[in-house]
């Protein structure tokens, strides 16, 4: 049963991108275990404001696991200790009375810290702008049954498309590699007939942008897929490798 717990929260505080960061520990009493993790941070911020202190800056938006904004490294895991969820879907029942919870921002050179737990994830947007779209003129809306797509293929494309671009993969990777993100974005289009036409060009452009932005080289540790809130599979990385190598050998 959910009950009330007293906890300590050890949070990374950093005034700005260039400022020196440090950990600060706050005590929080009487937190309901049915509360979400972000609600707990809200309560902590209320407490800080009441004490006339600077509240903790953190990213959040939809709070239902679909926008990909929340980005906290909780007790050594991006999005916390539970699997296949975002930070906003994490609840306080995963923590016990008297526990010290360590909260850090994503740490990767391509994701510089803006303030406290907020990081700049525009690098992912830039990769998307490099080719993560379909530029085929599809004309009017075609009949839904005009292009038949096998169910397993459609399922795999949809699973790849479930990526919300939160950055947990690159944050968890010891190599700071964005391959799971890029491969999901390449796969969701490469699997479907409309996206196949530009598949080779897309793979080359997105990988080139990824390398340019300073992401690392994938060594298939699998930490990304293990921490991904949407359980995007490593099989996508193999598809990206295949698409890219085939495209390069054809050149």
């Amino acid at each position: 049963m959910d009950s009330y717990i007293n906890i300590k929260v050890r949070v990374w505080r950093q005034a700005g991108p260039k400022a020196q960061g440090h950990f600060e520990t706050y005590e929080l009493n009487h937190i309901f275990q049915g509360a979400s993790f972000l609600e707990m941070i809200d309560i902590l911020n209320e407490q800080l404001i009441a004490e006339k202190k600077d509240p903790i800056a953190f990213d959040h938006d939809c709070r239902e696991g679909i926008c990909g904004m929340c980005s906290m490294y909780v007790n050594g895991h991006p999005h916390g200790p539970d699997s296949a969820i975002t930070t906003c879907q994490l609840h306080m029942r995963h923590f016990h009375d008297g526990e010290t919870i360590t909260v850090e921002p994503w740490r990767s050179r391509a994701f510089p810290i803006i303030k406290d737990l907020m990081v700049d994830r525009q690098a992912y947007d830039k990769i998307m702008q490099a080719g993560g779209f379909v530029s085929v003129n599809t004309g009017g809306v075609p009949d839904a049954n005009a292009i038949a797509i096998p169910k397993p293929v459609a399922d795999e494309a949809m699973d790849a498309a479930s990526c919300i671009g939160c950055g947990a993969c690159a944050a968890a990777c010891k190599n700071g590699s964005a391959m799971l993100f890029v491969s999901a974005k390449v796969s969701q289009l490469a699997l479907l007939p409309q996206g196949k036409i530009e598949a080779a060009k897309r793979a080359k452009a997105m990988v080139a942008k990824m390398d340019e932005l300073g992401f690392g080289n994938c060594t298939n540790t699998g930490a990304c897929a293990a921490e991904c809130p949407k359980s995007v599979s490593l099989a996508n990385i193999a598809r990206l490798n295949r698409e890219y190598l085939c495209a390069k050998f054809q050149d």
Binding site: A172, C218, T221, G222, A226, A238, N241, Y244
Partner: protein, 235 residues
């Protein structure tokens, strides 16, 4: 050149050289097995292979290609690691938890690789120096005849306490090699794109089988001579 300038190109080089070295290991391991067979049945298989691979041009070219494979694999490993550490940035996480299903070996490939390379140097001094090198240059580097490879191996491993120490050192080497291959083989296949939702699980199993087979072939020889050596010491 995309093989140097793109991340997937660099990984492609790592996987190709890695797989090439695994194939060599399988050949070398099979050849070593002859040592045990020779010792048990009194045949001369190992020395016959040694003679064939002695100091002819094919063997020299083969050795050079092999050395090139090791050098490229090693240099790219260093290059990739430097880049990856830079990509990670200077700020480390205060708390780093283990992820479920992530192999320990996969996060320590460079360390394991350096252990393997370190022992490789010892191995070359132990055997290659006394066999192919001695044969090529005509310099006597040991008390053994460079043509009699079998005697050189037996001489090292069945030499009392010294033999036991070398057996144990080789076992540490082989253990590091097993861990390196347990991630390396499937990772190479994944990098080449030979994986999907179904084959991802299969290539991981294939990798473990390959690693066990390759390392097992070497291990049999070491364990056999360790047994022979201890037997001799007791008697």
């Amino acid at each position: 050149m995309w093989l140097k300038d793109s991340s997937i190109g660099r990984k492609f080089i790592m996987s190709i050289t890695g797989l090439f070295l695994v194939l060599f290991l399988l050949f070398h391991g099979s050849m070593n097995l002859c040592l045990v067979i020779d010792d048990l049945f009194g045949t001369q298989g190992y020395n016959w292979i040694c003679a064939m691979l002695g100091a002819n041009w094919y063997a020299i070219i083969g050795t050079l290609v092999l050395a090139l494979g090791v050098v490229v694999h090693f240099c790219y490993a260093i290059y990739l690691t430097i880049q990856n550490r830079a990509a990670r940035g200077n700020d480390r996480y205060a708390v780093e938890a283990r992820q479920e299903g992530v192999q320990w070996a996969s996060k320590n490939m460079l360390v394991l690789g350096i252990i393997v390379i370190g022992f490789l140097v010892l191995h070359l001094i132990n055997f290659w120096w006394k066999m192919q090198f001695a044969e090529l240059t005509g310099i006597h580097t040991s008390m053994f005849d460079p043509q009699d490879g079998s005697a050189i191996v037996k001489g090292l491993f069945t030499n009392g306490w010294c033999g036991i120490i070398f057996c144990l050192l080789y076992m540490v080497w082989l253990a590091a090699l097993w861990f390196h291959l347990s991630h390396g083989v499937w990772s190479a296949l994944q990098t080449l794109g030979w994986s999907n939702l179904i084959w991802l699980k299969r290539i991981k199993v294939i990798g473990i089988i390959f690693a066990t087979l390759a390392v097992g072939l070497f291990m049999i020889v070491v364990v056999y001579f360790l047994g022979v050596n201890i037997g001799q010491m007791i008697n």
